[in-house]
Amino acid sequence: MSSNETAPTNYLNADYGVRSWLFTVDHKRIAILYLIAVTFFFALGGLMAVLIRLELATPAGDLVQADVYNRLFTMHGVLMIFFFLIPAIPGVLGNFLIPIMIGAKDMAFPKVNLASWYVYMAGGLFAAWSMLHGGVDTGWTFYTPFSTAFSNTYVISTAIGGFLAGFSSILTGLNFIVTVHRMRAPGLTWFRLPLFVWSLYATAIVQILATPVLAITLVLLIAERAFRIGIFDPALGGDPVLFQHLFWFYSHPAVYIMILPAFGVISELVSAFARKRIFGYRVVAAASVSIAVLGFLVWGHHMFVSSQSPYAGVIFSLLSMLVAVPSAVKVFNWTATLYEGSVSWETPMLYALGFIGLFTIGGLTGVMLATMGIDIHVHDTYFVVAHFHYVMVGAVLMAYLGGLHFWWPKITGRMYPIFWSKISALLVFVGFNLTFFPQFLLGYLGMPRRYHAYPDEFQVLNVLSSAGATVLGVGYLIPLVYFFWSMRYGKRAGDNPWDAFGLEWETTSPPPTFNFPATPKVTLEAYDYTGRAEARLARTQPVRSSP
């Protein structure tokens, strides 16, 4: 089919011009705005990673000086966490899919939804401004008193950027909670919701309850740095450990703001490409909520060596290990869903299977780090770096890419080249492991994180890691090219290219502005592939079946 064929009116061609995008209240267009923004910040953060890996290819500090290196890893962390990982899946896939999955016309608060994007972009401007003026060197954790009394870099503007990104995240979460509660189509009971909706609901709880604490902590940090109002600086009578408590009270749950939406994506993918109802639907849904709750009780495992009482450490250690239970429930249930399923090896499924493997490694090393004895040994080493990259990149980014490949035909109405997408999924998996597995070994051997130079004996593993990063980078670039290409030249995808189950596949690709011609009525359980087949049969053969 030629690309000039006229498409029916949908959210993309309903209106034209920059104004129609910048002032849109359509959740699908806002999702596209987020997609453009998070891709930009991902590229920027990725550029920092490239420079970090280049510097670490040789033991000597030859490419950049120590202070530049400090800024590189700080800005890499700030951009990737606050401006990519936290908004990526909720902002892009969540915004696009949640109203469609629950059969609504839009989010409960469409203007708030648009406002959240603008607040996020304002935060991004502050972060970008700080970068252009020389960046920040405190690490993304902004530990006091270094950040308030000693650092000579742009702490305040970066903290304002983080504060604004946080409020954007709060507004998104608020919108999701109200939307899921109040906007569901008739017949769509809580236990008929797709698991993606469940996991974003759990995410929203964390966004609402944890993010404000980061916000007030950053306000106090700014007040201390700008006006010498001492809350955390010991020289002013404050307690820096209080900063760590408040910071991690948000920043540990923030890990679940990143990983829970990824769980939701994987549940959708595994079910769709095993052609089976997810194994233990209710348990998987409950696991999301229980991870959200447990996530609030484990922040102290970031502070085992911070003068926190050892008794508190023991409690935090045990509670942290408890998180492994619902996480393992999910991994086992995904695996059990594959059993006797009709598994196909489409590109999104490759990402999903990669996710399950990498998340298992990331999760198990998390249990190791929750053990105080091991944590004290590998604290602040590359072991920790490798662990959280397995969870944040190996899991979250794989899920985000898998989800993007799964719903791309729905978002744009076009299919990307299958061959290249499979190649890039493979490159990402291989490149990722080559980059980060050596870092487990480096950390265990004692290489500390956040240094631009290292002893010669660590070079072989570091070169392997840098080589892996190159493969990984190519794996990310290929989709960037073919996604752009497919928007114009890709084959038309049809309404349900995967023959998957879910309300989003019942509307056209791309969907019309209000998602459905009329509000749908839901009669089937989630992922009820058998029920759907029977309903189709009943629709197509009613006359012949009666004698």
Binding site: A104, V112, D239
Partner: protein, 230 residues
């Protein structure tokens, strides 16, 4: 005919009968109202956590410096603080009456009570400014010019850090609330609210009561701390 407006195509009668003020994406006014109130409650939960960080800092430092916090508390003006508490509770009453007026469709009464609420909020902020002025002259504002004659100067300074952070954040919430109240008064005057559709007044009422309740916690924590001792 455009698929961008499916309602117009599939339910032409229903779309013509859509009640005034019902946004495009809701099915009914009651769904819109539910969503609106629920959204405000969630926002207030977020606000509790936002103030919660400060209250945590207060608990930590008060436990570490009990005497200094009592001394700092004694230096505050109890009379002004008590008057302000009464003023703020009064503003909650006028706010509640504005909501009642909106529920019963009394257009002018809404405007009168909202203006009264703004005025009482202004009185509160005025008194607060006077108190801040006193502290400025006594060099009790934290920073390089902070000065404390008695013992435990560092602990007292921490008390004032928290005093200014907490009351300042509370005052900021009042300023924002008053600005929105002013806009709502104008809309109310133009007849934007009906008994069936006044979500903005009701939601703003919830917000105003929340700001009031924060003060109900701040007043004893900051002003009444050392009084029981003597």
């Amino acid at each position: 005919m455009s698929t961008a407006e499916p309602d117009a195509r599939t339910q032409p009668v229903a779309s013509k009968l859509r009640p005034w003020g019902l946004a495009h994406h809701f099915e009914s006014l009651s769904q819109q109202q539910d969503a609106s109130y629920f959204g405000m409650w969630i926002f207030l939960v977020q606000e509790i956590m936002f103030f919660g960080g400060l209250f945590t800092a207060y608990i930590v430092y008060r436990t570490a410096n009990p005497t200094a916090f009592a001394l700092g508390s004694d230096s505050l003006d109890l009379t002004l603080g008590a008057v302000n508490t009464a003023v703020l509770i009064g503003s909650s009453l006028t706010m509640a009456l504005a909501v009642w007026a909106a529920q019963t469709g009394r257009r002018r009464t809404i405007v009168v009570f909202i203006i009264l609420t703004i005025l009482l909020g202004g009185v509160f902020l005025g008194i607060k400014t006077v108190e801040y002025g006193h502290k400025w002259h006594e060099h009790h504002v934290p920073g390089p010019s902070f000065h404390w004659d008695g013992p435990e100067a560092r602990g007292v300074q921490m008390f004032f850090n928290l005093y200014f952070a907490m009351t300042g954040l509370h005052a900021l919430h009042m300023v924002v609330g008053m600005a929105i109240l002013a806009a709502v008064a104008v809309w109310a005057w133009r007849g934007a609210f009906t008994p069936g559709n006044h979500n903005l007044v009701e939601g703003l009422g919830l917000y105003w009561h929340f700001v009031d309740i924060v003060w109900i916690f701040l007043f004893p924590l900051l002003y009444l701390l050392g009084r029981h001792a003597g």
